[in-house]
């Protein structure tokens, strides 16, 4: 009896599991959308049908995986992911079918599936493509020494291009010039001009995507930020240290700040301004030092390269602390900095988490044990991009059907989206109510770890947003913050708290 029951249970579990796994057609569609950004063509769908009929769908899907991973569309998609990660646009353009010289208008099938060529206009854009197109090591973003430098000044009137950026390191850049003669990317201005440039593997002055003109101009250096802005991006992208600017407490100073911005009588004396500025010790406050102790030494590695790349490597340090260990590596130039980052376990963990977010349903959690296993796989394949993408595609969750979001999930997601904006400013601030002296993560429920803490934080949110009066007189966000709450956000949070701050499953976390 027991064994029959066990068999029946096993059978029902197998059936349930089978129901959550996609059929071949859905698998092809999901694969195509994730890797190429668009659905499979009609011809591909028909070919899959034939493969299913002949019982060779697994071989067909494996071949399609290879084909998609080798496609320009996948390289372009990886470029888009990296743009999103770096928060910039590299301005690469998919060429329209009319401009595709490999499939002229008179060719059969024209216009069906020939969105295959992508224009490169700068070295970062080229590197972001190549990393997937040539299955390069993911570390190339940090340690790459080969560049394709573009001169598009004639094309778009840009004064600052890769040529100008690299001129101090490669004075004879134009003598090695090549062209995309076969790709009439800009027929009205002629072919795009480029030069391939390589540096020694241990050259401390260059470091993959970090020493491209696009990166430098996007995250511009100023006398005030002293390359900290660039350092913050490096910490965020490669070490998953969010590093958002902590807004110092403005308690009691709102009036002074407003006076400074909108003086009562339209003129203020320098003495008045100095008087107001007294007591603000940015750079020494704990909130500020939480970031500055690591940003400043990293920023120094780019000190000699304010706008264009310097022939001199500038010394600095890779410095940061985690709950488990302290890292302090002296480096000579940004090249050594990139290599030092690529050796850190936090880098491996961070990059694996990027891939997980890109390829898995975000509702599938990545457990620490699973993360460790994926890090080992990442190492096993030599950190090569497409090889690791393939490992992600082979995870059982990749083809699992995800149920539609429930109403409570959508509501929880909206609340978390709002709280994330609060979190962005508060996460690096110190708060003496917690053991580690940091604010709790507002998007990790229950906030603070248990129900009493959650209740305390919910009450606090209620108070600082002045929810009782529909947000009429809020203390948060502070006046100097670059955003304001909308009325609908106020109502969202107010009603959420009124209903007991329910989580994704609809379970009340706070007794109203």
């Amino acid at each position: 009896m027991k064994s029959i029951l066990l068999t029946a249970l096993l059978l029902s579990a197998t059936v349930a599991a089978a129901e959550t796994v996609m059929k071949p057609a859905a698998r092809l569609n999901h694969l195509s959308r994730v890797l190429r950004g668009h659905s499979p063509s009609t011809d591909e769908r028909r070919a899959l049908q034939s493969a299913v009929t002949e019982g060779r769908e697994e071989a067909f899907l494996a071949a399609k995986t290879d084909e998609y991973l080798a496609s320009e569309a996948h390289a372009f998609k990886m470029n888009a992911r990296l743009e999103e990660l770096f928060r910039l646009q590299t301005n690469g353009t998919p060429l329209s079918p009319v401009l595709d010289p490999t499939n002229p208008p008179e060719a059969p099938g024209y216009g069906k599936s020939n969105f295959t060529l992508y224009g490169h206009v700068n070295s970062m854009n080229h590197l972001f493509h190549e990393i997937a197109r040539k299955n390069l090591s993911w570390d190339t973003l940090l340690t790459g020494k080969h560049y394709r430098a573009f001169d598009i000044s004639a094309f778009r009137g840009f004064a600052l291009t890769d040529y100008g950026f690299l001129a101090a390191l490669v004075p004879d850049l134009k003598s090695a010039m090549g062209t995309y003669a076969d790709v009439p990317f800009a027929p009205e201005t002629g072919p795009i001009v480029y030069t391939d440039v390589s540096f020694a593997p241990n050259d401390p002055r260059v470091a993959g995507a970090l020493t491209t003109a696009r990166f430098f101009y996007r995250f511009a250096n100023t006398g005030l930020n002293k390359n900290r802005r660039r350092a913050a991006v490096i910490f965020r992208v490669f070490l998953c240290d969010s590093m958002s600017a902590a807004i110092p407490s403005s308690e009691g100073k709102e009036g002074a700040i407003l006076d400074l911005m909108f003086p009562h009588d339209n003129r203020m004396t320098e003495e008045q301004i100095r008087e107001m500025a007294q007591g603000d010790g940015h750079g020494q406050r704990p909130d500020c030092m939480a970031c500055h102790y690591k940003l400043d030494p990293m920023g120094r590695t780019m000190m000699t390269s304010p706008l264009t790349l310097s022939p001199l490597a500038s010394p600095g340090r890779l410095t940061y602390r985690t709950s488990a260990r302290s890292v302090d590596v002296p480096v000579r130039g940004i090249g050594e900095l990139g290599a030092a980052i690529a050796r850190q376990p936090e880098y491996l963990s961070c990059q694996v988490r990027h891939f997980w977010r890109w390829f898995m349903d975000e509702r599938v959690p990545l457990s620490p044990a699973r993360e460790d296993q994926l890090i080992r796989e990442f190492e096993r394949v030599g950190r090569r991009t497409n090889d690791f993408v393939r490992i992600m595609l082979n995870q059982p969750e990749f083809y699992r059907i995800s149920a539609p979001l429930t109403e409570s999930e959508i509501r929880a997601q909206r609340v978390k989206t709002f709280l994330r904006k609060c979190q962005d400013c508060h996460k690096d601030q110190f708060y003496d109510g917690n053991d580690d002296g940091k604010f709790p993560d507002f998007t990790s429920w229950p906030i603070g770890g248990d129900e009493p803490e959650m209740k305390r934080w919910v009450r606090r949110i209620q108070r600082v947003m002045d929810l009782e009066h529909d947000g009429e007189n809020p203390r948060m966000p502070p006046v100097e913050a670059p955003w304001r709450t909308t009325h609908s956000e106020v109502l969202l949070i107010k009603n959420w708290i009124r209903d007991g701050a329910p989580d994704e499953s609809g379970r009340k976390q706070v007794t109203p």
Binding site: H38, E84, R274, D361, E480
Partner: protein
């Protein structure tokens, strides 16, 4: 002074961020860039002033805006602005069909309309469409002057099935998203709805059809 100005300057500098940012959605929804390029594919490479193949800075507030300070997406799920953007995009694409070549948004549009558009979007009814073409001077005229009711009921049925496949996928693919239980009924209902407006020209029918199809989760999700 410098110290007090720091947060203000930081905020001002941060405010410049979004113009460089690639937006993204959560919840399994395709990134705005993927949506833009997929729509480009659906319409055989046609471009309009409102939607081409690349996410433009003007699109960011519609397709997913970002936190001014951090660049993090603050629009997690597709919402009303995306719906409006898709409606505008489809309307603009259909307007391109009725626009003289010299005034079109892209110099390639005339060639795409004349050569690729109809074979791509009306593949199952190509012989009947070709007969209509023989009576007009261009495909643009067919698409803007001839009516959906000039196709046979069978052709209409197959054309609508083709549009569903181009946007949402095959019935198996649609069911896998878990949103629609009966894709065949959806197909029937959409065909009936469009056939009732059959006296309208093709571009008007396509505007109605794609305004529905491109807003469904089966199109918007990975």
């Amino acid at each position: 002074m410098k110290r007090l100005l720091m947060p203000i300057l930081a905020a001002a500098a941060a405010a410049m961020l979004p113009f460089e940012v690639q937006a993204s959605f959560r919840g399994g929804y395709r990134s705005p860039q993927d949506l833009v390029i997929s729509i480009h594919h659906v319409f055989a490479g046609l471009r309009s002033a409102r939607c081409g193949d690349m996410l433009s800075p003007d699109d960011r507030s519609s397709l997913g805006d970002n936190n001014l300070q951090t660049g993090e997406p603050i629009v997690d799920l597709p919402g009303t602005p995306l719906i409006r953007w898709i409606d505008n995009c489809v309307a603009a694409m259909m307007t391109e069909l009725a626009t003289p070549p010299e005034q079109q948004s892209s110099r390639e549009n005339a060639a795409i309309i004349e050569r690729d558009f109809v074979p791509h979007l009306f593949a199952p009814a190509l012989s009947r469409m070709s007969a209509l073409r023989a009576e007009q001077s261009s495909w643009a005229e067919v698409l803007t002057r001839r009516t959906f009711s000039e196709l046979t009921a069978g052709d209409r049925d197959q054309v609508v099935a083709h549009w569903i496949e181009l946007t949402l996928g095959t019935p198996d693919e649609i069911e896998a998203f878990g949103r629609m239980r009966d894709p065949a009924k959806f197909h029937r209902d959409l065909t009936d709805y469009l056939s009732r407006a059959g006296a309208s020209p093709f571009n008007e029918i396509m505007k109605r059809a794609f305004s529905i199809l491109l807003k469904r989760d089966e199109f918007l999700l990975y």
